[in-house]
Amino acid sequence: MKMPLIYLVLTTGLFLSIFPYLWMVLSSFKVSGEIFTRFWPSKLTLSNYAFILQGGTGQERNFVGSIVNSLIITIIPTISVVFFGMLTAYALRRLKVRGYRYFENIIIYQMLFPGVLFLIPLFLMMRDWGMINNYSGMILRYLIDPWAIFIYIQFFKTIPESLLEAARIDGASEIKIITRIMLPLSKTTTAIVILFTFMARWGEFLWPLIVNKNYDKMPLSVLLALFTKGEYKTYPGVQMAGATLLTLPIVVLFLVFRRYFEEGISFTGLKG
């Protein structure tokens, strides 16, 4: 194919690909009459954002609070997944504890296991443990992610043992080896783990929908969905303002981490 043609196809595709975003952001600044009729707004308004940030009619929809909630139920699992992912992978792949191959098989099974099987019993467990309507209920099941362990294992395979032996001879403890040697070496892998975990938890919908019905603890994704499906069906501008708020943080995070994303993708495997 000729070069100009390639660029033309790619640019058209790119336009189609980001068009929904573009429309979403533009619509969030439009007055409601123009959302369906015009592409470029004739005038910009902040009223949709004001509406959403002041909580609609002013009482219960605390969107600002829900952003904080989303951050809480996103950041804690992200840190935990990285920490335990590295720790477990190190023990299995570098220390090669007895039976590590069994463990690795278990991890692969866990990754492939359909989550639907766990939905109901996990919900009942949260109920019996009194974790309905609070953060722990939303967080607990996500503190360790077999996928993260798996990709750390993949990465740790590539690190030469001699490097670790040298450190051990110098008297470094295993914890020190992890923090001083493994962590700096696995920057790309860690970036990938952070990015994917953050994305998954930030956009999580079904689980917090089930285990939390309290507005004060509700993450943005759930609040926005209830808001859209329920009583505010007729406010498309406000919906788009909410969708923009929901999308923005991950877009920023992605742009920050995109270098690692492309680098890491080739060996990390797939993640939903």
């Binding site: 009482q59 109920r127 329920g230 007729t234």
Partner: protein, 421 residues
């Protein structure tokens, strides 16, 4: 110095308040319907109560409804995080809750009969809100449903407001043109179970003179009344007189000529479409429906229930209920803020309401339908039944997969199975 003083004073105040709070405050959890107007209303009412009753506090929140309030309340109850007091409960759902032993009967409390009289709702409650001789729900509002018609276009066409199915089909024949986004009647095709209240259930009640479409034992809708309506629906969709696509406010934008609406849409329409002229009319009926007979309609009516088993909380909840229901000011305020009609027998008679209604002619049209407004048929499996109704009757007819008689027969069979389970 001044600053320190202020800080000190605030501290003392906070501590004093906290002290009072610790004395003997009982707090109950109160949930209300997810509707912007009701939300604003309850916010004010609860504030008023809390300010005047420091030892009996109400923690209020809107039911976090996604698919439906019923679903949310059920899961909350299943997890022990449900409310102590809740609004937005219709009879069938109340029955479901009673069967699972969640509700507290109100008639065991002192002053129950007096309260019914004070709010002028004794007849309403006794005829339709009882369950095995007990009363678990106190109705808040009764919204008769009505048809809205686009006045300007009807005038332009020189047509009267349609009364029968035949009128609508004639209107469609002269006006309808999907290629220009001109449709005749809006019929909701969405699969939400409660949507069927406002079309199938409503029309069955209209055609049958207010009879229920099922009871606790079996399905009753498979007769000429049900059939005439479903034939009409079939015609509408086969001729494309009803749009099978989603529009934002199609009636107000002149995409359809008529639609079934609740009174809660009056305010919204006024705000967003101030230019829109419409006429409010009773439900459509079959062509052979006698002219001199009144037409019944469906009443969207919801009430308040008490769920707490804690005696202390029950006292607070009951005090709040007495305070709320016995004061006519609350109902007046309700009417003004939500544009929904309170469930009282004196709405048309009492002057506080009459004043508001005469200033709001559209709502007055709804109030006129009150004597003929029939609440939903009582069955504790309403949600399951209407989900199935949708699947075996409504959608197959709309999408032309089944003839109306076949769909009605199938629906009767399937729904009876659920009732008998």
């Amino acid at each position: 110095m001044k600053k320190t003083l202020v800080v000190l004073m605030v501290l003392v105040l906070v501590m004093a308040l906290a002290g009072v709070g610790q004395l003997a405050t009982t707090t109950i959890e109160f949930w209300t319907a997810p509707n912007p107007f009701q939300e604003a209303f309850w916010s004010e009412v609860v504030k008023e109560w809390n300010n005047t009753h420091p030892d009996q506090q109400i923690k209020w929140q809107v039911i976090p409804a996604g698919n439906s309030s019923e679903e949310v309340i059920l899961t909350a109850l299943a997890t022990g995080t449900g409310p102590d007091l809740s609004t937005n409960i219709f009879t069938g759902f109340a029955a479901q809750l009673i069967e699972n032993d969640f509700l507290v009967p109100f008639n065991q409390f002192e002053g129950f009969e007096e309260l019914l009289k004070a709010r002028s709702m004794a007849n309403i409650v006794k005829n339709g809100w009882g369950y095995n001789g007990n009363y678990y729900v106190l109705p808040l509002y009764t919204n008769p449903m009505a048809y809205w018609w686009n006045k300007d276009i009807l005038d332009e066409l020189g047509v009267d407001v349609p009364r029968t199915y035949g009128d609508v089909l004639n209107l469609g024949a002269m006006y309808n043109d999907p290629s220009k986004q001109k449709y005749t009647l809006l019929v909701r095709y969405e699969p939400a179970w409660w949507d069927r209240w406002f079309d199938f259930c409503l029309s069955y009640q209209a055609n049958s003179g207010g009879k229920p479409y099922w009871d606790g034992e079996r399905v009753l809708f498979n007769d000429e009344h049900g059939l005439k309506y479903m034939e009409f629906i079939n015609q509408l969709f086969r001729k494309k007189y009803a749009p099978l696509e989603s529009f934002q406010d199609p009636l107000q934008k002149g995409i359809v000529l008529g639609s079934i609406e609740g009174p809660w849409n009056i305010t919204y329409t006024q705000e967003v479409y101030p230019e829109f002229n419409y006429i409010i009319g009773p439900p459509l009926v079959p062509d052979d429906y006698p002219l001199d007979q009144p037409v019944h309609t469906f009443a969207d009516t919801k009430g308040m229930v008490m769920l707490t088993k804690n005696k202390q909380k029950q006292v607070v909840a009951w005090n709040f209920i007495k305070w709320y229901y016995s004061d006519v000011r609350h109902d007046v305020k309700w009417l003004e803020m939500t544009n929904m009609l309170p469930s009282r027998e004196d709405v048309l008679a009492r002057k506080e309401f009459a004043e508001y209604l005469s200033a709001n002619p559209q709502l007055a049209e709804y109030a006129k339908l009150l004597p003929y407004a029939v609440p939903p048929a009582l069955n504790s499996k309403t949600i399951e039944l209407q989900t199935k109704l949708n699947e075996v009757l409504w959608e197959p007819v709309i999408y032309g997969k089944k003839t109306p008689p076949k769909a009605l027969n199938d629906a009767e069979k399937e729904l009876n199975k659920i009732i008998k389970q």
